[in-house]
């Protein structure tokens, strides 16, 4: 099972089963999915509290504070994507038109913006195109892209260790696995 989405699916199945008239015992789930034993045990331990959460009375003040935290997260995210992308990288272009000019997809433009692609794997043509599209020097583009990857928006989660940025991906690998690019676009970048 791949980590995130399959865990979501497993959690959905497990949650639905718990509501059944005769839920499947936890030990059966553990036998079926030994690789997710730790997750299943954690969910089981959390379940009584999660069930209780559904029954709590409405607390308008608490909800207002939660909503404020949520809107702050949205605002930070928007500031990131509606300013940094349009300031350094796009200069008046929106992400779609920049993606078109680069023969990339919008998600790949986001990855470039967050420096999630290994600088060493970026083709010179891409740097040229970026410099031209942004009307800046190649040096400026290189300086920007050759910095460490940025954390995802709002990724200041409280943890014992410092947050780690996502590992950088090889450009060609990102192109090959992109779900938005056309075959022609993929072929173009593969040939370079």
């Amino acid at each position: 099972m791949e980590k995130t989405h399959d865990l979501d699916m497993l959690f959905a199945q497990w949650s639905a089963d718990r509501q059944a008239a005769a839920p499947t015992p936890l030990r059966i789930w553990l036998d079926r999915y030994p690789e997710h034993a730790a997750d299943l045990l954690q969910w089981a331990a959390q379940a009584p509290l999660a069930d209780r959460a559904e029954t709590l009375y409405t607390d308008p003040e608490g909800e207002a504070r939660t909503l404020a935290a949520g809107l702050k997260a949205v605002a930070e995210f928007r500031a990131r994507y509606e300013t940094s992308l349009t300031s350094l990288l796009t200069r008046g272009l929106n992400a779609t038109s920049l993606a078109e000019r680069l023969s990339l997809s919008v998600p790949l433009v986001f990855k470039l913006e967050r420096r999630l692609l290994s600088f060493a794997s970026l083709p010179a043509v891409l740097i040229d195109r970026l410099a031209e599209a942004l009307q800046v020097t190649e040096r400026q583009v290189r300086d920007y892209l050759n910095q460490p990857p940025t954390l995802a928006a709002g990724a200041n989660y409280r943890a014992d260790s410092a947050p780690k940025a996502v590992r950088q991906q090889d450009f060609l690998q990102a192109v090959r696995t992109d779900h938005e690019m056309t075959e022609e676009q993929k072929a173009f970048w593969s040939k370079i």
Partner: protein, 250 residues
Amino acid sequence: MDERQPLVPGLPRPLQTAGRCREVDVEEQICALLSVSSAELKRRAQMADRAAPGFVKEEALVYMLREKARHGDMHTAGDLAELLVKRCSPFVHKHIAAWKLRSPSHVEECAFDVFSRLMQDLFEFGPSSEFWEVRFWVCLKRRVLNCVQKYQGVDRHEFQPDPLDDGKGHQTDVMETWADTRRLTPQERMEIREALALLPDKERLTFVLWHYEEWTQEEIARHLQISDRAVRYRLERAEERLAAWRAGQS
């Protein structure tokens, strides 16, 4: 193999993971929304009455948000994200509140982390995040539980519970003496749910496996890879904390 699937005009993109599909009503809502303007989309998304015929489900909103973002309309995508956050906040609040974090700042930070993760997932277009279009509330619940469990650890670290001793500084060695094999009744299980938030993770897990899942001590020891003594110790500690909670309640 090419993982791209053909796009049919007017129809939603198929999900990227084989064998997975959106609910029929979500697909229908998406089809209807694909042809409307951004302004109309936002108007419909603002509808709050879940029973109303035009109510747009969260899964459809996630799809439309991503569709807007794919086309570079980050403004509309951001507006939809804001609407989703507004819909979610009562749910998130209740799930955090159930865990009784003692520090108000932890509560706030936990909520912020949940929503930051939500934003991160909403704007990911790969298969790892597409389940939000299938079961939005399940995905959200899992994220909230992950976050709140982490903050509970932080909270516990900062607010050390009182040591369990006899008041004279003598810790009782309960490992050999614990012999309470009684399990809670269903009614007791319901009543005590609230207090489970007061237990450290390991004690809660052991307690739930014993009282809620009705495992044997040997079974718990085997699955958690701890000794029988450790199982008894955790159960006893949990019982003591819950007894203190009961005393405070009465």
